[in-house]
């Protein structure tokens, strides 16, 4: 058990450090360092442009998508090298957020199911950030119940014609391509009638409508499809096998380990270290200390859990469902941390504008964004089910729609 770099790793680190030192957009370092969940804003620049420029620079020098094969625009690095890169990239890594879905989920799904010529055409510009991808799974009628989706794909000659609606699509408003899960056969049970495609988001009939979130920001979208045509060669996997294809995507979502999950703890600790309460420094207060200690061990527990996962990965073990705990723990923790940060601010905590609020409104921004973290990529409840069923081996939920043809399943409400 050790944390030391091997000579090879040390060399990799030194090379990465030197390159980052010479090339990173340092003018944004301070703003990026002070960003936290719900609050990555560059005052005088468009963050998407800055992110794309940094990604392109990395790609040109061979530092993009480290774990991807070289022929698709990656570097073919080991999992440990990927972690070392993230450590060295530091706050500039925040800029990769725009590409998480594409690099973490769409790319690997393409690698597993797309034709070779498509991989060579589409993956390098995805790696370099020139093209942004989104993932079109969720629907109003199927949130956590992904397989309950209703967007139809019907064969018409060499094309498929798509009609329907997606929702909660991160980044669709600036995406060039997307992977799309559709229903091709409503007469069979729901998991059996799905088919996956990728498509050009600029195709006629695709309409993207940003959703205004509780926080006021618009990171997500509704996407409408009206007679959108997708050529059959853009199908990923077999007709009717879309559920299995989507499981690959979701497995890859989980393996995006090493990426630091936001817990809000570093922000809270820093805040309490200098905050004066009525009776003295917050950090001297018994109640404050107890709260901090409890969150500290959760934050460190998550950090070392992810290190254990990386060690396993580097020995060739596959990332398992146990990695679901990161999002499960961090999601509610950041919500609680933000609530407590505001509690410490007293009545003034209600003010949320970055200009007037305490600590430039960091906790206020976190509070309003955190509910989304607990839902996106699977709710807390779904995460607990995954742990209970796939790690602990408990029985699956009883599913009354299991063997029922999809078009006979009653549905109501929005997911």
């Amino acid at each position: 058990m050790n944390f030391d770099d091997t000579p090879q790793e040390a060399e990799f680190r030194a090379t990465a450090r030197t390159w980052i030192g010479a090339n990173a957009p340092k003018q944004y370092e301070e703003e990026l360092r002070k960003s936290s969940l719900g609050r990555t804003v560059l005052k005088n620049a468009d963050i998407l442009e800055v992110a794309k420029a940094w990604q392109k620079k990395k790609a040109d020098a061979g530092w993009a998508c480290l774990h991807w094969p070289k022929e698709y625009g990656g570097r073919g690095s080991s999992p440990i090298e990927r972690v070392i890169w993230q450590q060295e990239e530091g706050p500039f890594g925040q800029l990769s957020r725009m590409f998480i879905i594409g690099h973490g989920m769409c790319g690997p799904t393409m690698m597993a199911f797309a034709r070779e010529e498509h991989k060579r055409t589409y993956l390098p510009p995805l790696a370099s950030g020139e093209k942004v991808w989104c993932q079109l799974f969720s629907e109003p009628a199927g949130g956590s119940d992904v397989a309950g989706l209703r967007t139809r794909a019907e064969k018409d000659g060499d094309d498929w014609v798509i009609n329907g609606q997606k929702i909660w699509t991160s980044g669709a408003h600036y995406s060039d391509y997307g992977i799309l899960l559709t229903r091709t056969d409503p007469t069979v049970p729901k998991h059996k009638g799905l088919t996956m495609f990728f498509l050009d988001m600029k195709s006629p009939g695709v309409e993207v409508r940003p959703i205004k979130q509780a926080s006021g920001a618009s990171d997500f979208n509704e996407v409408y499809f009206t007679n959108v045509r997708i050529p059959d060669h853009q199908r990923l996997g077999e007709v009717g096998d879309g559920w299995n294809v989507s499981l690959t995507t979701l497995m890859n979502e989980r393996s995006a380990i090493g990426a630091a999950v936001s817990t809000g703890f570093p922000e809270l600790f820093e805040y309490c270290s200098s905050l004066m309460l009525d009776d003295g420094p917050a950090i001297e207060d018994r109640a404050v200390r107890s709260k901090l200690a409890n969150w500290a061990v959760k934050a460190s527990g998550l950090k070392y859990t992810s290190m254990r996962a990386i060690s396993a990965l580097s020995k060739g073990e596959r990332p398992g469902p146990e990695n679901s705990i990161g999002k499960l723990v961090a999601g509610s923790m950041i919500q609680d941390v933000a609530t407590y940060g505001l509690d410490l601010q007293g009545a003034s905590g209600v003010v949320s504008g970055p200009e007037d609020a305490e600590l430039a409104g960091r906790f206020q921004a976190m509070l309003l964004r955190a509910p989304g973290t607990r839902v996106e990529g699977g709710t807390d409840e779904i995460m607990r089910n995954i742990i209970a069923e796939r790690v602990l081996g408990l029985p699956g939920d009883i599913r009354v729609d299991k063997d029922v043809p999809f078009n006979k399943i009653p549905t109501k409400g929005r997911g």
Partner: protein, 375 residues
Amino acid sequence: MNFDFSDDQKQLRDQARKFLAEKCSPKAVRVVLDGKAPYDKELWKGLAEMGFLGVAIPEEFGGAGAGHLELCVISEEMGRANAPVPFSSTVYLAAEALLIAGSDAQKKKWLPAIASGDAIGTLALFEGKGNPSPKNVKLTAANGVLNGVKKPVADGAIADFAVVAARNGSSGRDSDISLFLVDLKAGGIEVKSLTNLDPTRGQAEITFKDAKAEPLGAAGDGWSILTQVLDRAAVLCAFEQVGGSDRALEMGRDYALDRIAFGRQIGSFQAVKHMLADMYVSATLARSNSYYGAWALSTNAAELPEAAAAARISATQAFQHCAKNNIQVHGGMGFTWEFDCHMYYRRANAMALGLGSLSYWEDQLIDRMRKKNAA
């Protein structure tokens, strides 16, 4: 980087698990629990023969000279089996104090005896209510003898010797405290067993009346040595707590699969599944924090104090959480004497107090984090 135990260490863990599964069944634990024996002597002897008692003791002092990572994996299994032996007091507290501060002669006298299972040791620190603090040490040392009362002393009634924290100054500084080695079988010692939360590991009150004592470490260094001993023990106990958490979780899981109600396995109800998932989460966080503590302990890293406090808090919470909810999953059966759930519940809650309470370690953690940030 490799943040895992080695294959050899994992093999040792399997060996310990197998040994304990054979020699330390719940039935064997119950002999001590029911008060028929103060500890499991046969198991203690067996642990010595397997080399587990002296795994971290250097070969020159009769141990296996393996190291602390090896001790960690064994500790995990001791916790999993709920072993009714004075392992933590002897191996973590007494042996570690000797390793840190003992003279060559003291090490030669006690360490081989610990490794061979011939001597049980303990740490006599507490004097009634309160957490580890120099000001809570009232027992006095003067002219080579100790006077005062220590309680509770873990395994005090069966221990052969104790490391005793005593006051030999009144400056109000930490340097008022020194450590002493006391042969508990010699004169001037009165021992009284105390009823306690976890009868599988006894507690005692020890009265020292002009009891002969030899210094352990330099005069005035007592508090600094104790802090190191407690930090090391915090990591080692955390592994026992992790083992106990895992076992409690397994028991709950197995029962949830076995028990049918409303025509279904109760483990198919989300309320039960989610309770078990949360137990898994707390046990996993504790395990990861403990691994970090193990790394810091085995390399004697500057991070040890902070890592130890984090491991301690996380593992204490996890064991309490898992032991408590294991009973809940079991429903009415869970709080009968007949089922084993309460043994882990007792152990979890007794261990939560043994090295100072949770709030004490929370304080320690924040102090240490501040120090690091200031540095």
